[in-house]
Structure formats: structure tokens, C-alpha cells
């Protein structure tokens, strides 16, 4: 058995921040429709601190992919730099992963997506990565409508460098060392709405029942899906005075509604009275069933969603749930009118105009 993971990001083993898992498959383990066992969706043992919210998000990603019968190798996991960006090592080990440059996950993902539109692109980022150094790339990848699931694991703090405030820390919140943050926070959910993301949701790492269906909905969404997940940092931001601690988020969580994700294969049964539910039909045939919708919120109304979000924030509430979805959104490939074939499969026949054409071009240049 490998040694137990360290309880803090300050690695005790200087030469290893990843741990292999023993590969033991029990023959009776249940297989999903794609023929994989749940274990096939896992990754290496996490080296994050015990209790880190990020590990719950990794578990939710594993759960969502397993339940959606996604072939693990048809997923590309791309991240930047930071605690959150380390997590792609801890799920989907059969997928290619790319731990890129700090704050630059969105551009790498955009390029990867252009090269092969057939894979599912999971962009994993944090609040330092996406709200500070990489805020420009966050903004522009959302604007372009890159077909991706953009997950921000938001803890309001820099963990790997030990506890500095990040740009999503609330004004007036207190650091572990007792410093008060005086800067206004970056509201990534509000920005994503304004920038034209076609799927915008917020969640809490401690609410798996909400997070898993949201991830599934985002993974089946065609277009830029943005998911901000508040994910408490147990080591540096889980104390009294923090607004990203488990206790604070639980107390102030305003869950919009419950959402069921109904896959395209499942039989749709209606067990709610009309008016109580709103169904959103996605392109792949899946259905998002929203129930217990609050007064004044409509997930199909971008302006309304912005107003609702701001009204809740003014009351000191943290809104979680699906804020907005446009099931008919066009993605970057649609904007660029690209061929449905993955670029990385095209060869000379499709790409090279040939010698005769070049002769004609030469003739025009004389």
C-alpha cells in the first residue's frame, strides 16, 4: 500500500506529488453502458489536503462521467496552475491531460478544441488562475463560445503559495493570519452571464446532490458552459471570518432549485404538477428538469438571471444552481463554420491545394 496522502499541500516527499493506485478490479464490479467500471474514471490518489473541497469536485466529475457513460479517453482535461489545476491528475487517468501555464487553460483548451471537436473538453481552473492572472483568457474563451465545461474551483485563496487572498475573496473577509481583504471581489458568475456563456451555474463542493447533475448538464451542453464551484480551502480559508468556509457557505447558500438530469436514454416520467417544473431539452436529447423554481428566476432569461443573482448577492446570499442555459447556443466551430471532421485527421488530400493550383497562383503574380 502506498503511504497515506499528506494532510497539507506542503509536500513532505520532495520527489512526488502524485501517487499510483493499486489496480485491482473485482470481476463483479458493475459496468456502465460504455462498458467501464467506475474505477476507470478515477485517477491517482489526491495529494491535496484532507478535506479539500477540490477532492469532492473530482469525485463529482468521476460520478458524472460514469453516469453519462462517457468513454474516458474521449475526454481532454486541461488546467492551469494551482491547487485546482492539479486535480485533473486525480480523475480520468485514461484521458489525456494538460497542466498548462498559470491562467492560460482557456487558450490551450480553445486550440485543442479547434484541433479535434469530437472530444469533451474539461477545463479545470481556480480563482487565482481564472479571476486574476488569467481573467482575460476566461473572458475571451467565454465570449467565443468554446464548447467546453469550464469549472472554477473557487476557494478565495492561494493555497500552493500559502494563504494569500485571491480576487474572488469578499471585501471584508478575513485571512487565516487575520488580514482583512479591502478589494472588491470579482464575480465570475455575473461575468460569465454578461459575456454570453450559454450555460452558467454555481455550486458548492459540499453539495454533491446538486453538483453531479449540474456537471452532467454542463457536459452534455453544446457551447461554453461555466460552472463556479465554491470549494473551501481547509488549510487556509476555513476559519471564522472567511466567506468561503464550509460553515459560512452552508449558512448563506441559496439553492435556486433542484435540478434533475435525465439522460437521452432514460424514459421521461412526469411526477410533478405542471407549473412546478421547467424542462430544458438539450441537443443530445437529454433533459434538465428544474423543480422548486423560485419566484423571479427563469433559467432561459439571461437578463433576469443577472438581476436575480445581483439581488441575492445584495442580501448576502450565495446563489447556487443553474442560473442560465441556452440549449440552442452556437459554439466557436459554428461561428467559424468549420468542417465537422476533426482537423487532426485531415491530410494532404484535404489540406494541400496541389501543384497545378500553385502554378495558377504563380501566373497571377507575374
Amino acid at each position: 500500500m502506498p503511504p497515506k496522502a499528506p494532510d497539507c499541500v506542503t509536500t513532505r516527499w520532495h520527489e512526488m506529488t502524485y501517487l499510483p493506485k493499486p489496480r485491482l478490479h473485482h470481476p463483479s464490479l458493475q459496468r456502465n453502458a460504455a462498458g467501464f467500471i467506475r474505477r476507470d474514471y478515477e485517477g491517482a490518489v489526491s495529494t491535496l489536503c484532507a478535506g479539500c473541497g477540490h477532492d469532492s469536485i473530482s469525485a463529482a466529475i468521476i460520478q458524472a462521467c460514469w453516469e453519462l457513460d462517457i468513454e474516458p479517453h474521449r475526454v481532454a482535461k486541461i488546467s492551469g496552475i494551482g491547487c485546482s489545476s492539479k486535480t485533473p491528475t486525480y480523475f480520468l487517468s485514461a484521458s489525456h491531460g494538460f497542466n498548462a501555464v498559470h491562467g492560460r487553460m482557456p487558450s490551450v483548451l480553445t486550440g485543442a478544441n479547434l484541433a479535434n471537436r469530437e472530444l469533451l473538453y474539461l477545463g479545470v481552473s481556480g480563482d487565482g488562475d481564472s479571476a486574476s492572472i488569467g481573467i482575460g483568457q476566461f473572458v475571451h474563451s467565454i465570449r467565443r463560445g468554446v464548447d467546453m465545461v469550464y469549472i472554477v474551483e473557487n476557494n478565495g485563496v492561494y493555497g500552493l503559495t500559502k494563504g494569500q487572498f485571491s480576487a474572488t475573496a469578499d471585501q471584508g473577509s478575513k485571512s487565516k493570519k487575520g488580514a482583512i481583504n479591502t478589494d472588491a471581489p470579482v464575480d465570475m458568475v455575473g461575468m460569465a452571464l454578461q459575456l454570453g456563456a450559454s450555460f452558467v451555474a454555481s455550486s458548492f463542493s459540499g453539495d454533491k446532490a446538486q453538483l453531479v447533475p449540474l456537471l452532467k448538464a454542463a457536459m452534455t451542453h453544446k457551447g461554453a458552459a461555466f460552472l463556479d464551484v465554491i470549494s473551501p480551502c481547509v488549510t487556509f480559508n476555513n476559519h471564522e471570518g472567511s466567506t468561503k468556509s464550509y460553515d459560512y457557505v452552508r449558512e448563506h447558500n441559496h439553492a435556486l432549485c433542484r435540478m434533475d438530469f435525465i439522460s437521452s436514454h432514460a424514459e421521461i416520467t412526469v411526477d410533478y404538477a405542471p407549473g412546478e417544473v421547467r424542462e430544458v431539452h438539450q441537443h443530445d436529447g437529454s433533459v434538465l428538469r428544474l423543480r422548486k423554481l423560485p419566484e423571479g428566476h427563469d433559467s432561459g432569461d439571461r437578463v433576469g438571471a443577472m438581476n436575480y443573482l445581483h439581488a441575492c448577492q445584495a442580501r448576502g446570499e450565495i446563489v447556487t444552481g443553474l442560473l442560465y442555459v441556452d440549449p440552442d447556443a452556437a459554439d466557436l466551430h459554428a461561428h467559424l463554420d468549420t468542417t465537422p471532421v476533426a482537423f487532426n485527421t485531415l491530410g494532404e488530400g484535404e489540406l494541400c491545394p496541389g501543384a497545378a493550383t500553385l502554378e495558377a497562383i504563380n501566373a497571377d503574380l507575374r
Binding site: 502524485y18 491531460g97 486550440g111 479535434n116 473572458v139 463554420d337 468549420t338 485531415l346 501543384a355
Partner: protein, 616 residues
């Protein structure tokens, strides 16, 4: 016409400079002037000289006419077409003694504004335009065509050739043909009535052959289309923007699925150069051929990603159309000053492949080659062009493509190979050439996946901070660059007619001026061998060339002798063996400059040797 003693008489060998106002529509008339001469079979080399402005400020266009075929900038000018009152004084002052001044004489100018040793050719362009057209924009545009007409009459440019070219230009807008021809003939008639032919003459020859006339940025863009680039991410910057625009133009014609109308290309104008190189890195990682195009300031921003692509071994193609640096520097002037920077871009120990095209023909060839090299070597490859090549039309050999040519996608394991049990470790040096095997994401359900990272790792791509893993990897990267040497375009040697003690090394846009300088030095009895370097890391033959010569001069267009620094670094040779000749004022280097500089150095060396001999 005032007769001036000692007027310059030259046939097919002179320089005309046009001084215009930016935004006045002069560019197309000026280009037409150059093309007419080309169509008469006489080589020309035009150059745009433009400050960093959009409208209303000065711009120049210089056309060198050279029957023998020298395409470098000559220096000086024999005829000034002075269409910009703002720059009049300096424009007139620069005319070679015995030269000619063509200007709009609608408003009388004081005698002090002219020179006694220059033939003055005044044509009332504004007056004639006002008599013939009402629309102010038309007046302006046709004034340009009128001066073209007048010049053609003065210099013996055939009317039929101009008519043919105007016809080609307005193929799709026939309504514009007639007024253009009218303007042309108004200019011709005035010149014929008021002046005789001048001493600068264009006579028909057959010295152009099959060569084409194109700018380097268009050529590179076409090379990238032919080479199979599907993803282009870029951020606008002079002088490289026209490359991305040309790529888009060519793709729209050549890369559309004929059946569905869908695009086999994606162009993203990114938010900055960091995103541009990030997109290219992501696309390269995922198996598409991708490039970005930029200039020095963009390379500065891209450094972190370039280091990642080098260390994580991702194919990336970067075109750097160099301009004057550092900082914003001289954004519309030419230099070769990103050489050292690109060779070692990023923090930490890095080394990158560089390609140095001499003209648009090589821009095409090397752009296509860069995509192959990036895939083969799994590393960033830089095409180092510059403003002089990129933004000026240049006469060059026609583009060529071998129909049997196949893209070299490098060492990529397929699903079949993985299924058959191919051993895979992302960073293992299986073949001993430093180049590992890779897999594209999504290839095989259970084999071939790996994690790409900018942190250190072992040969199986697992995170590792072990010293030996790191060192082995860094040494393998060095081996890979060693492998690159043989794959790059090899140097081109020009041996002097007689055995030469001196050698000269040069690269890129210095070539046309150097060709002329070598011929001049030979004629002056100072034979010199010349080696044009076309790629970095340098081939071993470059060291052999240095060893064969008593003194080696390195000619380049930057202050810090950057190519020389790389030569000293790679070959670990005594710096005294390489004598720098540097030109970096933002104008393209000239043969006159090179001849003088080489002459001085060679004489100094000979003198020193004679002194040494006496002492001995």
C-alpha cells in the same frame, strides 16, 4: 524645361522615390509603376517606407530599377516624385546631383524651393484634375494615375503595358477602366507637350523570366496553407498582420470543402499574443498543424508558453516578422534583432529552431517546412522573416510544390500501433535521436494516455523532481536539437571566382544587398567567399567555412551582432575570429554599405597582417 548640365542618363538602372501622403490612394498607382517596368522585362525592387500612422502623414515608395537584377536597396534616388508638401524640403535635398524632380505645379513655389543641379518637371496635376472631375476623392485618385501617365511618357514606359495592367486591375469593375485610362492619357499628353524624354529610360528587355512578384507575408501564408496548417491564432501587430490576413484570403479560396462549403481551417484573432500562442500550443498538442504570426513585442509576451512547448515537447510554429526593437521600437522599420531572443526564448535553459528566409520564395518554402519540422521535432520552430521581406513585393523564383510530397507528422503512435502492443513512454528516447513518441488525445481507450505538464517529469511523463530524471530529460532535449541540424535548410555557399582569404556570413533579408556587394567586391579585385546561413542550430559546414578563412565577417541588421553571438556560443570559438558588420538604422541594408564596410575591415586586416609580418 530648364536644361541642367550633367543630368543623369541611365537606362534600366536608377531609383525613383515617391513621396506621398498616407491615405491618398497613391499606393496602387505606385505599385502599377513598378509592375509596368516588370512587364517590360526589367527587374525592379520596390520598398514601402512608412511611419507608424494611418492617414494624412508622410509615406514613401522607392522603386529601384535594375536590369542586371540587383534587388537590394541601392541608397539614394535619381528621381523624386514629390507629392507631399510636408516633406518637400528633405525630399528635394535627397535627390542625387543631376537627378530629377517631378511635382504638382498647380501652386507656384518660390525659386528657393528648387535646386539648380536637378531637372524640374512640374505638371499642374491638381488643376487638370479639377478641370476633369467634380468629386474630391476622384480628383485625388486620378491625380495619382495622371502622374503615372506623365512619368511613363517621360521615361519611355509603354502605354500598352499600363493599359493592360489597369485592365487586369479593374477586371471586375469595368466602369472604372475608362476614367483611369482618361487620367493616364491626360498625364501622358501633358508630359509629351511640355517636356522631352528625360535621361532615365526604361527599355524593354527579357530579364525577368518566370519569376514572380509577391510580398513575403503573402508567400509565408500560402506556404502555411500548402503545409497543412489548420489553426491560426494571432493578434494584430505591424509588420505581421498582413500574413494572417493573407492566410485567411488564401484559405477562403483554397480550403473550403467543395461539397459542403465548410471550412478546413480556423482563424482566431485572439485577445493578445499570450492567447495566440496558447491556442497554437493546445492545437499542436491535439494533433493539428497550427501557427501564430507576430513581431518582436508579441514574442516577448509569448515567452512563458514557448518554454512550455519546448519542455513539454509540443509542435508550435511561430512566424516572427521582425521590426526595430526593443519595446515599441521602430514598428514600421526593418531589423534582424530577434535572433538571439528567439533562439533562447523563455526562462530556464532553452534552445529553439530558427529558419531564415531570404525572400518570399523561401518564406513559402520555409513556412511549409516549419510545420514539418515542428511535428518531427515536437518543439517550437520560428520562421524569422522581417519587415523588408514581409511587407514589400519582391521579385523571386516561382513557388514550387512536389505533388508527391507528404506531410511529416513525426512520431505519433496510432490506435492500431497501441492496440498491437507498442510500448509507450512519452519521453523515452527510443531511437536515440532525442525525439520521443507521442499520442494524440482520444486515440485508444486504455493505452497511450499521458499527462502533459510544464513541470519536470520522468521518461514516462510522471511528475518527478528527481535530479537524474530532470538532467536526463534536459540532455535529451539537447540531443533533439542536435538532430535538428541535419533536417534544417543547409547553408548556401557562394565561392569567389578566385581563391579568397576572407569569408562573409549573412542571413535573411541581407541577401539581395549581399549578392550585389559580392559582385562589386569581385569586380574591385577583393574576392570574398560568402555563406548564407538558413537555419539554427547551425550546420557543421558553417564551422568548416569559418575554419577555411583567415577572417570571417558577419553581416547582420542589429546592434548586438546577434547571429555572431550564436555562432560563438554554438561553436565555442574565439570571438576575435568573427568580425561584426552591423546595420541597424531601420532601413534595409545596402550593397554600398556592405562594400564599404567589408573594404575597411579587409584593408585593416591586411594592414595588421603586414605589420605583423614586419615584426616577425
Amino acid at each position: 524645361m530648364d536644361q541642367v548640365l550633367m543630368s543623369i542618363n541611365a537606362t534600366n538602372d536608377f531609383v525613383v522615390k515617391f513621396a506621398n501622403v498616407n491615405g491618398s490612394g497613391s499606393a496602387s498607382a505606385n505599385e502599377l509603376f513598378a509592375k509596368c517596368i516588370l512587364r517590360m522585362g526589367v527587374p525592379v525592387s520596390p520598398r514601402n517606407i512608412f511611419p507608424s500612422n494611418i492617414q494624412g502623414l508622410p509615406t514613401w515608395y522607392e522603386v529601384r530599377v535594375s536590369e542586371v537584377g540587383w534587388l537590394g536597396r541601392r541608397g539614394g534616388y535619381d528621381l523624386m516624385v514629390a507629392m507631399n508638401p510636408q516633406t518637400w524640403d528633405a525630399d528635394v535635398a535627397g535627390i542625387a546631383p543631376g537627378g530629377y524632380l517631378f511635382y504638382d505645379s498647380s501652386k507656384p513655389l518660390p525659386k528657393a524651393k528648387f535646386r539648380d543641379d536637378v531637372t524640374t518637371l512640374g505638371v499642374p496635376l491638381t488643376d487638370i484634375a479639377n478641370q476633369n472631375w467634380d468629386d474630391p476623392r476622384q480628383r485625388q485618385l486620378f491625380k495619382n494615375v495622371m502622374y503615372l501617365g506623365a512619368l511613363s511618357a517621360l521615361m519611355g514606359i509603354e502605354r500598352d503595358v499600363i493599359v493592360q495592367l489597369i485592365g487586369e486591375q479593374y477586371k471586375r469593375k469595368p466602369a472604372l477602366l475608362e476614367p483611369n485610362l482618361h487620367a493616364l492619357d491626360l498625364g501622358r499628353a501633358y508630359a509629351e507637350q511640355h517636356f522631352g524624354p528625360i535621361g532615365l529610360r526604361v527599355e524593354r528587355r527579357d530579364a525577368v523570366g518566370k519569376r514572380i512578384f509577391v510580398d513575403g507575408n503573402s508567400a509565408a501564408a500560402l506556404g502555411l496553407v500548402y503545409g497543412g496548417a489548420t489553426v491560426c491564432a494571432w493578434y494584430p501587430i505591424t509588420p505581421s498582420s498582413s500574413l494572417a490576413e493573407a492566410f485567411e484570403k488564401y484559405c477562403a479560396k483554397l480550403r473550403v470543402d467543395p461539397e459542403t462549403g465548410k471550412h478546413r481551417y480556423a482563424i482566431v484573432q485572439a485577445e493578445d499574443e499570450i492567447a495566440s500562442i496558447g491556442i497554437v500550443t493546445g492545437a499542436g498538442w491535439n494533433g493539428a498543424r497550427a501557427f501564430t504570426t507576430t513581431s518582436g513585442p508579441g514574442i516577448s509576451l509569448m515567452n512563458e508558453f514557448i518554454g512550455l512547448a519546448y519542455f513539454a515537447e509540443i509542435p508550435v510554429t511561430v512566424v516572427d516578422v521582425q521590426r526595430g526593437g526593443p519595446s515599441t521600437g521602430m514598428p514600421t522599420r526593418t531589423q534582424q534583432s530577434d535572433v538571439l531572443f528567439c533562439a533562447h526564448a523563455s526562462h530556464g535553459d532553452t534552445n529553439h529552431v530558427l529558419l531564415f528566409p531570404e525572400d518570399p520564395h523561401e518564406c513559402f518554402e520555409f513556412a511549409a517546412a516549419a510545420l514539418d519540422l515542428a511535428d518531427r521535432l515536437q518543439t517550437p520552430v520560428f520562421l524569422l522573416s522581417d519587415l523588408d521581406i514581409g511587407m514589400n513585393q519582391r521579385l523571386c523564383e516561382p513557388f514550387a510544390w512536389d505533388e508527391a510530397r507528404q506531410y511529416d507528422r513525426g512520431k505519433v503512435l496510432t490506435a492500431e500501433q497501441l492496440e498491437a502492443g507498442a510500448a509507450f513512454g512519452r519521453y523515452r528516447d527510443v531511437d536515440g535521436d532525442g525525439i520521443p513518441y507521442r499520442t494524440y488525445p482520444g486515440t485508444h481507450p486504455t493505452r497511450g494516455s499521458f499527462f502533459t505538464r510544464g513541470t519536470s517529469k520522468n521518461a514516462d511523463a510522471k511528475y518527478s523532481e528527481k535530479g537524474e530524471d530532470y538532467v536526463q530529460n534536459m540532455q535529451r532535449l539537447q540531443r533533439k536539437l542536435e538532430t535538428a541540424k541535419a533536417l534544417l535548410p543547409q547553408p548556401v555557399l557562394h565561392r569567389a571566382a578566385k581563391p579568397a582569404k576572407h569569408g562573409v556570413l549573412y542571413f535573411g533579408s541581407t541577401a539581395p544587398a549581399m549578392n550585389e556587394a559580392i559582385a562589386k567586391l569581385d569586380a574591385d579585385g577583393m574576392p570574398i567567399d560568402a555563406l548564407r546561413v538558413r537555419g539554427y542550430p547551425f550546420a557543421d559546414s558553417v564551422l568548416a567555412f569559418i575554419d577555411q578563412h583567415q577572417q570571417v565577417l558577419v553581416v547582420e541588421q542589429n546592434r548586438d551582432a546577434q547571429l555572431r553571438a550564436l555562432l560563438i556560443e554554438q561553436f565555442e570559438i574565439d570571438p576575435a575570429r568573427l568580425v561584426p558588420i552591423l546595420h541597424y538604422d531601420g532601413t534595409p541594408i545596402t550593397a554600398r554599405f556592405i562594400v564599404r564596410a567589408i573594404g575597411e575591415r579587409v584593408h585593416a586586416a591586411e594592414g595588421a597582417r603586414l605589420r605583423d609580418d614586419k615584426v616577425a
